[in-house]
């Protein structure tokens, strides 16, 4: 039925078409691990065994692609990412102010602040690694260096995926991608270089820095502005400090303006929270498009 492990994996992939691509990646990694070990064991027992014949009995025990696919889908239904389970308030006001108790909002905020740090690290790593790889190519260490660098890119992509899943609630791969075993250095490099996933991950890592700067400045500005406007009335009421000064002229605002200011500040903060959650949602989709292979 299956002549090679790759054929089984292909079939498993097409059985899981409807599933989340991150789940497919996990299922493929598990199947590859098991099948190649079983095949190795079969070869040890009878060295001249045909791969197709050996696979037949192995698959009988492991399960057909269809059975394996349904096992993963069954479990996945029971364990979805933690942040996905949010309360959905039904009223309009509930939806507007519910943003404060939505874990995704806080997850997104945290993600954007963390991105400010990781973005710089990724950018430095990617740019340094890429330029060193290219310039080393004329030397003997060029190819091993480039392979190590490109592998590190895939590793970073996996790590970033875990971060995205934890904080943005988007299902991302939980297992690393594996290259085919037993490849020569040059073939391994070729596989890495021709893999779309490597380059998309690299682009993602480089773009993280400009995005991080954008997110960080946007959020810090908006949060500082809304908190400032919100608390300004207290400065006048409690410490008698003027909110506006023109040179020596001190302007004290009437009470009703103070109340409006506080409310306005709170509304801006609420809008900022919505914006943060929205950016988090978008970034999750974007990360998935670039970091997960299909």
């Amino acid at each position: 039925m299956f002549n090679t492990i790759e054929e089984y994996l292909e079939e498993l992939k097409s059985e899981m078409q409807e599933s989340d691509i991150a789940l497919i990646q996990d299922a493929l990694a598990d199947a590859r691990e098991h099948l190649s070990m079983a095949l190795e064991a079969a070869r040890e027992k009878t060295p001249d065994v045909n791969e197709a014949d050996a696979l037949k009995s192995i698959v009988e025990e492991y399960g057909t692609p269809e059975e394996t696919a349904s096992a993963y889908q069954e479990i996945e239904r029971r364990t979805s990412p933690f942040l996905k389970q949010t309360v959905r308030p039904s009223s309009f006001w509930g939806r507007v102010f519910g943003v404060y108790i939505d874990p995704r909002t806080w997850g997104s905020l945290l993600f954007m602040f963390i991105t400010f740090v990781t973005g710089i690290i990724y950018f430095t790593w990617a740019v340094t690694g890429l330029s060193l790889s290219v310039s080393f190519l004329i030397l003997i260490i060029g190819i091993p260096f480039m392979i190590l660098f490109l592998l590190s890119v895939q590793g970073l992509a996996l790590l970033e995926g875990r971060l995205v899943e934890a904080l943005l609630g988007v299902r991302m791969p939980r297992r690393p991608l594996f290259a085919q075993p037993g490849l020569k250095w040059l073939d391994r490099l070729k596989a890495l270089v021709t893999d779309k996933h490597t380059w998309l991950s690299l682009i993602y890592l480089v773009l993280q820095m400009p995005l991080a700067v954008l997110y960080f400045s946007l959020l810090v500005t908006l949060i500082a502005f809304s908190l400032g406007v919100m608390t300004a009335p207290f400065a006048q009421l409690i410490w008698n400090l003027p909110i506006i000064t023109f040179g020596a002229e001190r302007v004290f605002l009437p009470y009703w303006v103070l109340i409006l200011l506080a409310i306005g500040g709170f509304l801006t903060l609420t809008l900022t929270m919505h914006l943060a959650r929205g950016i988090g949602w978008l970034h999750g989709r974007y990360a998935k498009a670039l970091l997960v292979t299909d």
């Binding site: 598990d30 059975e67 096992a71 069954e74 479990i75």
Partner: protein, 118 residues
């Protein structure tokens, strides 16, 4: 006939949904060393020689979900030939869960047996 065997398969699958977690936890609690999927599958195969209760492929997603719930922990180790292996080890939470689950299993067994006898 096919209708009946499909029903039987479904019944077996539903039974396995709970018992496979229990069996995996118990196997890993008895093992001193961390074990990888293939090793566990082989061990289960030896202890149930007559019929294959569950397909080996269904063990992996269960291991994964046990890990996600903190009952197991895992680490990847490269192997000389082929893809790296993921080794699983039971956690303290896992051991605590196993004690409770064993109790539930005993009760369930008693309950089912008592009612099957009529």
């Amino acid at each position: 006939m096919t209708e009946l065997s499909a029903q039987t398969k479904k019944f077996q699958k539903e039974l396995n949904a709970g018992t496979s977690s229990l069996v995996l936890l118990s196997v890993l609690s008895r093992s001193k060393e961390p074990m990888y999927g293939y090793q566990i599958a082989k061990m289960l195969e030896e202890s149930s020689q007559e019929i294959a209760i569950m397909k080996q492929g269904t063990l992996y997603p269960v291991l994964r979900s046990l890990e996600e719930n903190g009952l197991l922990e895992s680490m990847v180790e490269p192997s000389v030939s082929g893809p790296p292996r993921r080794y699983y080890k039971i956690t303290a939470d896992g051991r605590a869960a196993l004690i409770e689950w064993l109790e539930i299993w005993k009760q369930t067994k008693k309950f089912v047996d008592a009612n099957l006898k009529g």
